[in-house]
């Protein structure tokens, strides 16, 4: 990696100030994406601003929302009794990200800020109609994801938490691993809650996570795997690579949707 200065502020305001002071300053959360990028010299930050001292980790359950702090590790989400009770599909999703080491370092904020088209969390956030809370505003999931590695975040803006509306009646995630990286080749999150019935697909789309609205309509009418079994996704806007053609991904969306619905009960 290139040389940079390392900062570990203890307030969001200080962190925002540091990030705003310099166009090449970058935030560091769990480092699971950022550190490999630095090691490969694909990014040359002037300052690295570690968010670990901001006190943003933690999970709280209020009457109508589950709020997960931005620096909460995947392992903590997976293990949380509150998450398991309120949104079991979300806990299961977090427990299936990467491997043990990744889950004990990677954070929900980092995953959402990065918005890897094969990441898992975006599917849950979109399907559950969550709100991304930053140092200056709240962004609805529908507005937040704007394509591969692209989000509504402005330069220097920090995610502080993610708020999932409750009660969630049904939730489940079915992931088909890309065999080498074990990110999602196709991941489908199905949910029924305050945001309605939603089906969000990650891994497959050329523009990142997206909603499968035909499936949503079918499930709204009848919540069962059979309801979506005949619904195909057009391969036209899907990714194609050495691990899966667009057609294979399109097929897997239906299979994973069926499995997620079955798992959600």
């Amino acid at each position: 990696m290139y040389d940079f200065t390392y900062h570990r502020p203890t307030s969001v305001a200080d962190a925002v100030a540091l990030l705003g002071s310099d166009a090449d300053a970058k935030a560091l959360a769990g480092g699971q994406t950022f550190i490999p990028v630095l090691k490969q010299r694909l990014n040359k930050p002037s300052k690295v601003v570690d968010l670990a001292g901001l006190g943003l980790a933690g999970i709280s359950l209020s009457g109508n929302a589950l709020v997960i702090g931005a620096t909460t590790r995947h392992a903590a989400v997976a293990a949380s009794a509150d998450v398991r009770r309120a949104i079991p599909g979300l806990a299961a999703l977090a427990g299936g990200i990467g491997d043990n080491q990744v889950r004990h370092r990677g954070t929900i904020g980092g995953s959402l800020a990065n918005n890897d088209p094969a990441a898992c969390y975006p599917a849950a956030v979109l399907a559950l109609g969550a709100t991304i809370v930053t140092n200056k505003r709240s962004i609805a999931a529908d507005d937040y994801f704007q394509g591969m590695f692209t989000t509504a975040l402005e330069p220097g803006e920090i995610i502080t938490s993610v708020s999932f509306p409750l009660p969630v009646e049904k939730s489940a995630y079915a992931k088909f691993n890309q065999p080498a990286s074990r990110f999602a080749l196709v991941g489908v999150f199905v949910a029924k809650g305050p945001a309605g019935v939603r089906v969000a697909v990650t891994g497959a789309g050329q523009n990142g996570v997206f909603r499968q609205k035909a499936m949503e309509a079918a499930l709204a009418a009848s919540w069962s795997p059979d309801a979506v079994a005949g619904i195909k996704t057009s391969a036209a806007d899907l990714n194609s690579d050495i691990h899966g053609s667009a057609e294979y991904r399109a097929h897997l969306i239906t299979v994973m949707a069926k499995r997620a619905i079955a798992a959600a009960g």
Binding site: P179, A180, S181, I242, H243, S245, Y248
Partner: protein, 792 residues
């Protein structure tokens, strides 16, 4: 002390330091004043180098030196040698184009080193490398052998027009043609063997050092330090052997990829001589993908002529083997003498003819990788046998039995040069089928079908050859080195033993197995035996570890050296016990006079040898230290039967290996626990090859699977519990009766897995499937073929 000799499952002595993180690997070594080397590598598959400007890099902070191919040319350094010469059908020697240490004139594969930057820190070397400007003129490139052979294909080396390295043959073509002409039936199969990246856990590393008197030391991640000393000293850098020490300390896996002499080793040694400062290089993982020799990569056609009862009459094989962009150290031998000579397998096919064309492409050089040629031969043969069963309707197992070389036919001369000394294929087959509960399979298939899964079972009855030998024969076939092994047994004055072996352990557990052989023979406890390897300054000589040769060849040398120790000990004992040497017996660590209770312990004899007060000094030298060089009479021939059972998810195409049984004949078992571990590791790699691994290139030679994000290594959850059994016949020509176990897992397993998948897909009309059997590939088959079952 319980029983620790041959056959005991002694815990591995070396694991204490490995588990505690106290291993001593090359990257753990730091020499005073060392500088760091960083290689600027080609990011293009094939290009002419028009200009290299290193001026800015040379004046960057911390930079000590910057070298290009021109510096080596100016120093009269030719390049990396090839250790094996093959001759083509027409008698001409193979094309052997130069393999410069740093590229000269052209780059020929992604990863080809072009410039080396040496700086005070690794970071500074990398920073400076970014300032290097290289102007390239891109040339068309090729990655596949089929493309490289097309008329008008880009030529990788001017010395090899048409990209052909050699066009070799073995066997009696006329006899094979005659047999085909008279055959009741011919079954043909086209198949490929996928290219693999070895991916040892420890990346390669090297440190070169040179003192003021011109004495060099190279610390390197090698499976064979003496071979590196010979190749690099004599053929590349012209350093006399007494002034070159090569140390290969703890090495974290090799699988073949650390046999070869690599450019980085030559560079750090040469530069250390120039700078009189140690030079260190450690590969990053992405460098490993583009610079460690790859494995396999064959395209073949196989045809078997049969009589009406399914007896094999003749086999005809034609193979294209990818050499990559340069000849790696032993590359030419792999698709010839380690491959085509294995095509008889366990079958009594009377005549065989094979032709092999080796082809240059714009890819990383290909060389031996766990199994080296034998996995390719086994995959071809065991797939072909299943295809014959498919086409003729003869049961797969019955077909094999009908064609097995019977247990009473040994020694057995094959039509492709090898003479098998021992084996019993019926016994390993029967044991494997029993252990795998083959008869219970239909019930398991039915149960799986009820879950919506397709279940299949497959077997492979394989044979391989280890401990490539003897030297004279290997030499006649083109080897440029001997293939013996060396052991020096030093009995210390108090009776403990230090073994200096020319083999090298990089995960295999030699410190334990070799100690067990000493315990067996000399009656010394394993804790009193130290096994030293990996240092040319301490070990007399040796050829290293590859081809599962260590116990068969190195262990034999060890026994021969101990025979000399015992013979000398008997003379000392005879003197002390005032008896005739002929009456002295050595057993259980005691020298005794036959038929009496007069005896001396091994320790007493050792002490006498070093404190020769009462000693036959007129006729015997003091000391107890003996060396043996052992040149084997023949290869050894492990074989056996692997049974794989798979389940396929009909919706996704995902294949899971749900059961795996390996029953191997590896000759005498020294340590059954280590044997199991070796088979487990090999089978994991075989399952990786069968289901997951593919070194991907695009048509032009760009790497598309250059990291673990895209190259699928098998993980624990891809591998089932593996049942390992052994059914031994002993090797008849080495003193321990051992055959070797390092590679059987990787050789026997891939066709068993693919045969199981083809079996699972039989209703879909599948006859053959190339590796890796990815879920997408299976899904396409499921999509395309309307299952007959559905119609029923």
């Amino acid at each position: 002390m319980g029983f620790e000799g041959i056959g005991a499952a002694v815990k591995r002595k070396e694991d204490g330091r490995f588990l505690a993180g106290r291993g001593n690997y090359v990257d753990d070594i730091n020499r005073p004043g060392q500088v760091y080397a960083y290689f600027k590598r080609s990011d293009r598959p094939h290009a002419r180098i028009l200009r290299v400007d290193t001026a800015a890099a040379a004046s960057a902070p911390g930079v000590v030196a910057v070298y290009t191919g021109a510096d080596f040319a100016a120093d009269g350094i030719g390049g990396l040698p090839c250790g094996w010469q093959i001759h083509s059908k027409d008698g001409s020697p193979m094309a052997e184009p130069p393999h410069p240490v740093l590229a000269q004139g052209k780059v020929r594969h992604v990863g080809d080193p072009v410039v080396a930057v040496l700086a005070e820190t690794r970071q500074q070397a990398k920073d400076a490398a970014e300032l290097i400007e290289i102007d390239y003129e891109d040339l068309p490139g090729t990655a596949s052998v089929l493309d490289a052979l097309k008329p008008g294909a880009a030529v990788v080396h001017d010395e090899a027009p048409g990209n052909v390295c050699y066009d070799w043959q073995i066997g009696d073509k006329a006899a094979v043609d005659a047999a085909f002409a008279g055959a009741a039936r011919v079954v043909k199969l086209d198949l490929t063997n996928n290219r693999l990246v070895p991916n040892a856990m420890e990346p390669r590393a090297a440190i070169g050092e040179c003192d003021i008197a011109g004495n060099y030391t190279l610390y390197t991640t090698s499976q064979n330090p003496h071979v590196i000393r010979l190749l690099m000293g004599a053929f590349v850098l012209h350093i006399p052997e007494h002034q070159l020490r090569v140390v290969a300390p703890d090495v974290g896996g090799g699988f073949g990829s650390k046999i070869y002499h690599y450019a980085e080793e030559a560079l750090v040694t040469w530069a250390a001589g120039k700078l009189k400062r140690p030079v260190k290089w450690t590969a990053e993982r992405s460098e490993s993908f583009m610079s460690d020799a790859h494995g396999r990569d064959h395209v073949s056609t196989a045809e078997m002529a049969l009589d009406a009862e399914g007896h094999f009459l003749a086999l005809k094989v034609s193979t294209l083997a990818n050499m990559g962009a340069y000849l790696s150290t032993f590359a030419p031998a792999v698709p010839t003498y380690l491959y085509a000579t294995l095509l008889a397998g366990v079958y009594k096919t009377p005549v065989i003819y094979a032709e092999v064309k080796a082809v240059f492409t714009n890819t990383v050089p290909v060389d031996a990788y766990r199994g080296a040629g034998r996995p390719e031969a086994t995959f071809l043969l065991e797939r072909l046998v299943d295809a014959i069963a498919h086409d003729t309707g003869i049961d797969r197992i019955e077909l094999r039995r009908r064609n097995f070389i019977p247990a009473n036919a040994f020694p057995y001369q094959t039509p492709v040069a090898l003479q098998y000394d021992s084996g019993d294929y019926e016994t390993t087959l029967a044991a494997a089928l029993k252990a795998a509960d083959h008869t219970g399979f239909p019930a398991r298939r039915q149960a799986a079908a009820a879950q919506g899964k397709l279940r299949g079972i497959g077997i492979s009855t394989y044979l391989e050859a280890c401990g490539i030998a003897p030297s004279a024969v290997a030499g006649a076939l083109g080897a440029r080195a001997g293939l013996y092994e060396v052991a020096n047994v030093r009995v210390n004055p108090t009776g403990s033993v230090t073994v200096f072996t020319g083999t090298h352990s990089h995960g295999q557990g030699h410190e334990t197995t070799f100690a067990q052989v000493v315990a067996e023979q000399l009656g010394v406890p394993v804790s009193q035996v130290d096994v030293v390897h990996g240092d040319t300054a301490r070990i007399p000589f040796g050829m290293g570890t590859y081809g599962s040769r260590s116990i068969a060849v190195g262990g034999s040398a060890l026994v021969k050296a101990m025979d000399k120790i015992i013979a000398k000990g008997k003379r000392i004992a005879a003197h002390l016990l005032e008896a005739s040497v002929d009456d002295i017996e050595f057993k259980d660590g005691k020298f005794s006079v036959a038929g009496t209770d007069k005896s001396k312990t091994f320790g007493e004899i050792a002490l006498t040898a070093y404190v020769p007060h009462n000693y036959p000094i007129e006729e015997l030298e003091p000391g107890l230290d003996e060396t043996a060089f052992y040149d084997p009479k023949n290869f050894t021939f492990p074989g056996g039967c692997h049974v794989a059972e798979v389940e396929i998810d009909r919706e996704t195409g995902v294949v899971r290996v749900v059961n795996f049984t390996a029953v191997d004949d590896i000759g005498r078992v020294i340590n059954p626990m280590i044997v199991e571990g070796q088979v487990h590791g090999g089978v994991a790699q075989g399952i990786g090859q069968a289901l997951l691994e593919q070194a991907g290139y695009d048509d032009g030679g760009q790497i598309v699977s250059g990291s673990f994000m895209d190259y699928t290594m098998p993980r624990a959850d891809n591998v089932p519990n593996i049942h390992v059994g052994t059914e031994s016949t002993l090797c008849t020509h080495n003193p321990l009766g051992v055959k070797g176990v390092g590679e059987v897992g990787a050789i026997g397993s891939p066709p068993a897995v693919i045969n199981a998948i083809v079996n699972a897909l039989e209703a879909y009309g599948v006859r053959h499937l190339d590796m890796p059997a990815t879920s997408q590939k299976i899904w396409s088959i499921l999509q395309a073929g309307a299952p007959r079952m559905a119609a029923e």
